[in-house]
């Protein structure tokens, strides 16, 4: 984890495309330790593409994604929109959360005592101790996201990347997850990059906003975003 205010990630003149189709171009933004960046944009604006780029699953067409020296994409705590696991996948909550520690295993085949401790303390931090023996697939949507958040935190070195974490949640669970995330940021200094389709609560909590829109992307504070043409139109549901 970096000390507060230290730049963790810088993206410069970033362009990403599938073949000839340019998804977005010339995007600049940075993330400092302790900040909460919210990435918004229409469907197809390239939010998921940017996530793939940040995770190292896809190469930028041009420009650069630069991490603070010594940390790469591998130490991001990634919370996907939904898991690929089918509904009959036999996995206990504990097994799922421990699998977040895999990135720190190196050549070791099994988890160490410290990694198990870390998984256990993350579970109590997120208040899901009592679920540890449950089957992951039998949980409600909100519980599942908490478990996947715990897995992400085991993998993370102070930085979470959340891809529309509330997409499949009901309003109560959505509210709960946003509160939990704010709490983690305030009391534990976790840096967050969150992709969101809903402009309301996500942008209210953010310290900076990145709006992806082809070649006219916006990056700045929430106040300047709301004042900008892009922000106003997006909030009203129109195209920037």
């Amino acid at each position: 984890m970096g000390s507060l205010g230290e730049t963790l990630l810088t993206c410069r003149d970033l362009t990403m495309s599938y073949g000839d189709h340019v998804v977005f171009e010339h995007v600049d933004f940075e993330v400092k330790a302790g900040e909460r960046l919210c990435i918004v944009g229409e469907n197809g604006a390239g939010k998921s593409t940017l996530v793939k780029g940040l995770l190292g699953l896809m190469r930028p067409t041009s420009g650069a994604i630069e991490w603070k020296e010594g940390r790469g994409h591998a130490r991001i705590g990634y919370l996907p929109q939904r898991t690929a696991a089918r509904d009959d996948f036999p996995a206990s909550v504990r097994e799922v959360i421990l699998s977040g520690c895999l990135g720190t295993c190196g050549m070791r085949p099994w988890y160490t005592h410290e990694q198990r401790e870390r998984a256990a303390s993350t579970m109590s931090l997120l208040d899901i101790d009592d679920l540890s023996g449950e089957t992951f697939c039998s949980l409600s949507g909100g519980q599942r996201q908490r478990v996947l958040l715990a897995r992400a935190m085991c993998a993370a070195d102070g930085l979470l990347l959340l891809d529309e974490p509330t997409a499949s949640l009901d309003p109560m669970a959505t509210k709960g997850l946003y509160e939990l995330l704010r709490d983690l940021n305030e009391s534990h200094g976790l840096t967050e990059i969150m992709v969101s389709h809903d402009i309301g609560p996500a942008t209210e909590q953010a310290t900076s906003i990145l709006h992806l829109a082809g070649d006219r992307s916006f990056f700045g504070t929430p106040e300047s975003y709301r004042a900008s043409a892009a922000g106003r139109l997006f909030a009203e549901g129109g195209r920037p």
């Binding site: 991001i76 996907p80 036999p90 996995a91 097994e95 895999l102 295993c105 085949p109 897995r151």
Partner: protein, 272 residues
């Protein structure tokens, strides 16, 4: 019952078959626990058909069947796990194409050369008599390697099958794990093909895991129970096939199926 078991153990070919079969069913069920929940069940089927084609070609060229089938199946397994993501022909259709194409190549090769002889037949439907001393040595050695490698990669395979994207993002070696899983599966399919037959071997991968998934909700428990069910069913199947003089492969599959039905029933009753 004891008399039958004593008689079975008095034949050297039967003890060979029991040793090899136990190892193969143990390994197959462990690999199955990683393949079945990820919807890769048909890969065993595709591999065994390709294995059959390789054996037919090996006979035509007068080569040792296993030395041809093993590398061919390993390459196929590697390709099949990749077809799932990127090809124009999607997963299940691709495997169906591979299965029938391989079978066609095998049958064509056989009919143009020797005609359907007993050896090729035993690869299709399996033969308990097929185990030579060398086969046993090879199977034990390879089986132990598969088991050790599986246990070393256990946590990685779990993460890979549970959430491949997460694994790729947080651990840069997901592709390696996938390749290792493919190679282990190919090795076990080729080893088990002689006894169970190309047409039946994939059941050893799929059914015990399905049975265990009826009863267990934890991955480690599914692996453990699957292995126990697989070995017990294999023993029971071999004993029954010996006592009733029916084909071993088919008998083992039917016992596996019975265990699946039984466990499904028990879990249904328990949940009421």
């Amino acid at each position: 019952m004891m008399a039958i078991i004593c008689r079975i153990l008095s034949y050297p070919f039967m003890t060979n078959a029991l040793v090899v079969g136990t190892i193969v069913s143990l390994c197959a069920s462990m690999l199955g626990a990683s393949l079945v929940p990820k919807r890769y069940s048909m890969i065993g089927d595709g591999l065994s058909h390709v294995g059959f084609a390789a054996v037919a070609v090996a006979y035509a060229l007068d080569m040792t069947p296993l030395t041809v089938a093993m590398p061919v199946c390993m390459v196929t397994a590697f390709l099949l796990l990749r077809i799932h993501e990127s090809s124009k022909v999607k997963g299940d259709a691709a495997i169906a194409v591979v299965c029938s194409a391989a079978l066609a190549i095998g049958v064509m090769t056989v009919s143009l050369t020797t005609g359907m002889n007993t050896d090729v037949n035993s690869y299709l439907f399996g033969s308990i008599l097929a185990m030579s001393k060398d086969d046993v040595r090879l199977s034990v050695a390879l089986g132990l390697v598969v088991m050790v490698v599986y246990l070393l990669f256990y946590n990685r395979f779990f993460s890979l099958t549970f959430d491949e994207e997460f694994t790729r993002a947080t651990d840069g070696h997901a592709e390696t794990y996938k390749t290792v899983l493919a190679l282990l599966t190919a090795a076990i399919v080729v080893l088990g093909m002689r006894m169970m037959g190309a047409l039946l071997i994939s059941s050893l991968i799929v059914i015990p895991t399905l049975s265990a998934m009826r009863a267990c909700r934890r991955f480690s428990m599914v692996v453990t129970l699957g292995a126990v069910v697989s070995v017990v069913c294999f023993m029971a199947g071999v004993t029954a096939s010996f006592a009733l003089s029916v084909p071993t492969g088919a008998c083992v599959v039917l016992v596996d199926l019975a265990a699946f039905c039984l466990l499904s029933l028990i879990s249904k009753v328990m949940r009421r």
